[in-house]
Symmetry: C2
Subunit: 224 residues, 2 copies
């Protein structure tokens, strides 16, 4: 990435960029680190580390929580063009819980390190506002997930998930039942049962590690 591309990216991703004086822009630009995260890497784990803000260039991250017994629930995903601020929770003292963040696929990110951001954020409410505002957007996603988990039947949640995946990547969804279960916060056995019922109804066909959508009209109806 050349200097102009980097500037364009930062201007677009960070609403406070234009309010910073040139020397602070220089500082953030010079300390920013591009990196490629291999698929399946946990990039943020509780209080262990505080990377900073991650701008996602390609690929996808997921934020999730995990129970003592190892059960996982995916809370939201961060996609290319979006910003992950939960990896800088040490800059937000009002947030006292923590999530894990994992790369779902190979993901290229530009990281603005917390060490460089921290002294600026203390001086400029605009930066802190950006962090909390972006976090609040994610909380809206989390609330949606929570409402689905608390209130919705498993067949409908599975249908909504498959429909979302279909609209993003086409008819063939390369996922195991275990993976689907993790995304919708359920158990593998339950997802298998629902998918078998869907297959019986001619909505999907199932092969090892693959779910193919056959009847979009029925699926959409189930998703509500």
């Amino acid at each position: 990435m050349n200097q102009t591309q980097l500037d364009d990216l930062l201007t677009q991703a960070l609403p406070f960029w234009g309010t910073l004086p040139p020397e602070e822009q220089h500082l953030l630009r010079d300390t920013s680190v591009p990196s490629t995260i291999p698929k399946g890497t946990i990039t943020h784990r509780a209080d262990q580390d505080c990377r900073g803000i991650m701008l996602i260039l390609t690929g996808q991250l997921r934020a999730y929580i995990v129970s003592e017994e190892g059960r996982e629930v995916t809370l939201y995903r961060v996609r290319a063009g979006e910003t992950c601020v939960m990896s800088s929770s040490c800059l937000m003292d009002a947030i006292v819980f923590d999530v894990l963040i994992e790369s779902i696929e190979e993901t290229q990110v530009l990281t603005l390190p917390a060490t460089a951001l921290s002294p600026l954020a203390n001086r400029r409410p605009e930066i802190e506002l950006f962090l909390y505002k972006t976090a609040s957007e994610r909380f809206s996603d989390i609330m949606w997930t929570v409402q689905q988990i608390l209130f919705m039947g498993m067949d409908r949640r599975t249908a909504i998930f498959l429909w979302d995946e279909y609209t993003r990547g086409g008819e063939v969804i390369s996922m195991t039942h275990e993976e689907v279960a993790r995304y919708i916060g359920s158990a593998r056995e339950v997802v298998t049962k629902v998918l078998k019922y869907f297959a019986q109804e001619g909505i999907v066909s199932l092969r090892r590690g693959k779910i193919t959508i056959l009847d979009k009209v029925k699926l959409r109806k189930l998703a509500g």
Copy 2:
């Protein structure tokens, strides 16, 4: 409340108060409205209204969500001395979900109306920062609730709830099983089953609309 008391209250409750010029302090002070909310009143409902910031003087509010079938889950409570900002969600465009807010007991509040706050918040990032930061603190409570609901056994959740109530109000908890179920996000039948088991173990005694704690050591152990 006289002028000095009002000033003290606003200085203490609002971290941005000192940064406002005198004329903006006057405006907020003059438009603030004290009121008494009777027990059981729903003071905020989805997008219906946008009151503003509520400073809780006495009493207690709860924020909750409700499913299409009418099932309720309490997300958090706001107590005397705390501030409720979710009643001003129209000032926070990054928050796209909504909660209901109900007074658990007779509650005295001082409201800073959204109509007066809105033009100031547009000019001053400190005000917006206060709103999002306070909302983020509540999200931390919500995440705690969600983790309990998703990951914890019902007996432990019930025990934690009873222990919390005990430490706040003493051995006798005046609540129906239905109400307990609402607070911990479960069904009445499940709570009744758990409470009967607790009674059998000599941890509580049950009477209509009343749960009395008999064995604090055991209860605390169950709560973990």
